[in-house]
């Protein structure tokens, strides 16, 4: 076949001129717009107790909370609690991702497997992890195993549900197309169903990461010697209210950072959706 017989190619490109100052201004305005609500919330938190709108004993001003956090950071407690919690939450999340996404893909794909497993999944999913906490402790003890298991348990449901739904929504024509090109079931998963499902699966991962932090607090309220959940409950019962709030802030902060990482990953995997910038 001669290359010469091919159709002509089109090319009409012009480089994009950078516009530095207007862009910077635009960025700044955008940033202000985005952080408006957070700044507002922070101000409200600072002022409400100072103006006597709320009880300053149980809702101290934000600066007091941050000062308490600073003290915790200096004496090393903050790092201790944070690292312990992070390890448990991330460990559980990663385990959940590693088993729940492949399982969800399989369930979404093999109807009969879904029929078989769904009743159990619905049973477990609707059993609130908090109610199960004593059961987990009874069966798995008070150590790390039961804590990480709880995290895995509660991360599983958003991952499973979103993955199953994502698979079921993949355009059947794309699957047909891949099958006619000889894709093995495994390749079909990796090269078609997975990329097509990524946006919905990522929603599942982001929900799971929040779930991980949620049950972590619950599990660290019992049977823990350290961790941010332990810090919160200990501070609460000892009326170290600023410490309690700082624990909450720390957990939120971890959650937000995790979420940002996940969103960056998602953006990376779905780069094809947006035009080059």
């Amino acid at each position: 076949m001669s290359e010469s017989a091919t159709l002509p190619a089109t090319r009409t490109h012009a480089p994009v001129t950078p516009l530095f100052w207007p862009r910077l201004l635009h960025r700044l305005r955008q940033w202000a717009w985005r952080s408006a609500l957070i700044v507002g919330l922070a101000l409200l938190w600072e002022l409400a107790p100072r103006l006597g709108l709320t009880d300053p004993v149980f809702l101290p001003p934000l600066t007091e909370v941050l000062a308490a956090g600073w003290a915790l950071a200096l004496n090393g407690q903050l790092w201790e609690h944070t690292s312990v919690s992070l390890l448990r939450a991330l460990g559980g999340l990663v385990i959940a991702i590693l088993y729940a996404i492949p399982l969800g893909l399989a369930i979404g794909w093999y109807g009969r497997l879904g029929e078989f497993l769904n009743p159990l999944i619905e049973l477990l999913r609707n059993t609130a992890p908090l109610a199960l906490l004593p059961v987990f402790i009874l069966l798995l003890g008070i150590g790390e195993v039961s804590k990480v298991s709880m995290v895995v348990y509660s991360c599983s449901w958003p991952l499973l549900l979103n993955t199953i739904s994502a698979v079921q929504q993949v355009d059947p024509l794309l699957i047909k197309s891949a099958r006619t090109m000889g894709a093995t079931p495994q390749q079909l998963f990796l090269k078609v169903i997975l990329p097509a499902s990524i946006p919905t699966i990522f929603v599942g991962i982001r929900l799971a990461s929040a779930s991980a932090m949620l049950v972590l607090i619950a599990t660290e309220m019992v049977g823990a010697k350290a961790g941010l959940g332990y810090l919160i409950i200990y501070a609460q019962y000892s009326f170290l209210i600023p410490d309690m709030y700082f624990g909450i802030i720390a957990i939120t902060f971890i959650g937000i950072v995790l979420n940002a990482i996940l969103q960056a990953l998602e953006k990376h995997f779905t780069a094809w959706k947006v035009a080059a910038t």
Binding site: D55, V57, F58, L133, P134, I137, L138, G141, I142, G143, M221, V222, G223, A224, K225, I233, Y234, Q236, Y237, S238, F239, I241
Partner: protein, 317 residues
């Protein structure tokens, strides 16, 4: 006593809001049942599972009276929360106490064996934490070693199980949980809170300062009714008290069971009519000073409580 029988002065308020405990009868409920509280009406807003939460609810005006372990009360008052303790409500006596149990085959035989071990308690920052620390201190365990004893919060149902299958080395057990565990045998107490302090009042009920200011007569009437109820329970045969508790529970229709009542033995309150003494607060103040949470002399016990509304204050001693 005569003081308790006085016709009440005009009450500024007709209703007292409080939180109850599921499956238990607390003093305000007994006082109401005995007719001491009338014409005041108790208003049950729900149940709680923790003392610190109960006194927090008082500070935040969700309730008018609530109680906690004195150590927690001291911590709250150290934050300048506008409340005052008015009456003792639970504690340790010959029949009511909490043990710190080990398995019969446990290698732990004394305080020096504790560092590096795990002790199950039902809540942090409260009664049991202080008991364990006091025990270690009294047995000359260094502060560094004492820090190596881990306190593990365990749901009550799992404490015994945790002890038996080795998840924890020591478990705090009291009341129904202790009695049920002892039925199964194989465990014995390493020490008890009664070993440490003898009979003492461990927790007090608090009310808001502005409540007291606005409703002095109501406060007096309330505290008086409570103190009389405590005295009734102390002086009546336990069987009669249990029968009354059971009847109250059955009649109030709160979706709970009276199953734990047979395990009730005594009030645990040391002072007559729930009178509070300085030393019951001083011991916790000392601990908080040691922890650096309070400065030496920052708080005097007498500034934390008052027996002024308790009719037994005049007859006592």
């Amino acid at each position: 006593p005569a003081a308790a029988q006085q016709a009440p002065a005009k009450l500024e308020q007709q209703e007292i809001r409080y939180q109850g405990w599921a499956g238990q009868v607390i003093w305000i409920e007994l006082a109401d049942d005995l007719g001491y509280l009338a014409p005041l009406k108790p208003k049950w807003v729900g149940n709680t599972i923790s003392g610190p939460q109960d006194i927090q609810a008082v500070v935040t005006r969700d309730t008018d009276i609530g109680g906690a372990f004195n150590g927690a009360v001291v911590k709250l008052l150290a934050k300048k929360a506008p409340v005052t303790a008015v009456i003792g409500y639970y504690g340790v006596d010959d029949h009511t106490w909490t043990g710190y149990y080990v398995k019969d085959d446990s290698p732990i035989t004394a305080a020096r064996d504790l560092p590096g071990k795990k002790v199950a308690v039902n809540t942090l920052g409260a009664h049991h934490e202080f008991m364990v620390r006091e025990y270690l201190e009294r047995n000359q365990i260094s502060e560094a070693d004492a820090k190596k004893v881990s306190l593990i919060v365990t749901p009550p149902v799992t404490a015994e199980q945790g002890l038996r299958n080795g998840n924890v080395d020591v478990a705090q057990l009291g009341g129904v949980l202790r009695d049920k565990a002892l039925e199964r045998g194989g465990i014995h107490p390493l020490f008890t809170d009664r070993d440490l302090f003898g009979n003492f009042t461990a927790g007090t009920l608090v009310v808001r300062n502005d409540f007291i200011e606005k409703n002095p007569n109501t406060t007096r009437h309330l505290v008086s009714a409570l103190s009389r109820a405590i005295e009734w329970a102390r002086n009546s045969p336990p069987d009669e008290v249990r029968a009354r508790f059971t009847r109250i529970i059955e009649q109030r229709k709160r979706a709970e069971s009276a199953d734990a009542i047979p395990y009730w033995k005594s009030t645990g309150v040391a002072g007559e009519g729930g009178l509070i003494s300085d030393k019951e607060f001083q011991i916790w103040i000392d601990w908080l000073v040691k922890d650096g949470l309070l400065k030496e002399g920052q708080i005097q016990p007498s500034s934390l409580y008052t027996n002024a509304f308790n009719p037994y204050a005049s007859t006592a001693r």
